[in-house]
């Protein structure tokens, strides 16, 4: 299945891409479009684009919207969601010390990796690691 989001991905979109590939659609392919209209022309499922279902809604960031829609209840994913939320949405709802570090790492990766597909290859590993970490914390 094709999934579409905006280019120049930061935390929420890189985390969503990982979440989709690992927990929703193992064969996911990704494409990039500037807005919802351009995304619709690509005929994929849009995420983290203003106004789409898998976007920011009711105080949720897009990662949380995907958890919500696909009923992913794993506590380690919830922990990861809190980190993504804190780094992405500036609302002080969570206090996750990991967020500031993750923000720095992904901003920095964006400075040295132009291509979002290539970025996903790196960030997928990062989120695999963070997820494994939260699994162990909750074990």
């Amino acid at each position: 299945m094709l999934w579409v989001t905006r280019p120049h991905c930061h935390i929420d979109r890189t985390a969503c891409a990982w979440l989709i590939r690992r927990f929703v659609d193992p064969d996911a392919r990704f494409a990039f479009a500037a807005d919802a209209e351009a995304a619709a022309r690509l005929d994929g499922t849009p995420f983290d684009i203003r106004g789409v279902e898998l976007g920011h809604a009711e105080g949720r960031c897009s990662f949380e919207s995907i958890l919500h829609k696909y009923r992913l209840e794993d506590p380690a994913l919830r922990d990861l969601a809190a980190v993504v939320h804190e780094a992405d949405v500036d609302d002080d709802r969570f206090h996750t010390p990991e967020a500031a570090g993750l923000d720095a790492v992904i901003r920095g990766l964006g400075l040295v990796i132009e291509d979002d597909h290539e970025l996903f290859q790196v960030t997928d590993k990062l989120y695999d690691g963070l997820y494994a970490w939260f699994r162990r914390l909750g074990a």
Partner: protein
């Protein structure tokens, strides 16, 4: 290293003035610097790009028009000037935090201190911690005032802990939907 910058210029209807104020506040909250009363500037990265994109969408929804650019300076001197401007702005805000934290620390060490005043002080301390977190987030060039502000807040926190016997805790909140 040459910096890449994001520039944002917008125009909003003259009235109501609150729209213009809201946009101005939002840009300031991002830590953007306003140049020549015309162009907001942020150092370019995926997050700041996203921040300006959201700002642009909001302005357009409110009937305004926005231009966004990614740009590099033609001379390194200009980069240095801009970086110093970011640091100076951040230093000013860090200094405010440090002053407020010092006041709180003094409050906590007062010989006589009623419970309501103590509670109020704790509340102000929490807000101050939050301000410090926000400041660190938008401190793009590690302004020198950061350390003094962080240590003043830490000192105030210690003073309150000593006063209350170490009972200041903050729980780890759960994600949305729990």
């Amino acid at each position: 290293m040459a910096h890449a910058w994001l520039l944002c210029s917008y125009r909003l209807p003259r009235t109501p003035t609150r729209l213009r104020l809201a946009a101005w506040r939002r840009a300031r909250r991002l830590g953007a610097v306003l140049l020549h009363d015309a162009v907001w500037v942020l150092p370019a990265d995926a997050k700041t790009r996203e921040d300006f994109e959201w700002l642009a969408e909001e302005i357009e929804e409110r009937g305004g028009s926005v231009l966004l650019w990614e740009a590099s300076s033609l001379g390194p001197g200009q980069d240095r000037t801009l970086v110093e401007r970011f640091r100076a702005d951040a230093n000013g805000r860090y200094a405010d935090i440090a002053v407020a934290a010092d006041q709180l620390a003094r409050l906590a060490r007062r010989r006589r201190l009623g419970q309501p005043t103590l509670d109020q002080g704790l509340q102000r301390l929490r807000l101050l911690e939050r301000s410090l977190r926000l400041e660190r987030r938008r401190d793009y060039f590690r302004a020198p005032g950061r350390e003094a502000a962080a240590s003043a807040v830490a000192t105030a926190l210690t003073a309150f802990k000593e006063r209350t016997g170490g009972t200041i805790t903050r729980g780890r909140a759960r994600a949305v939907g729990d």
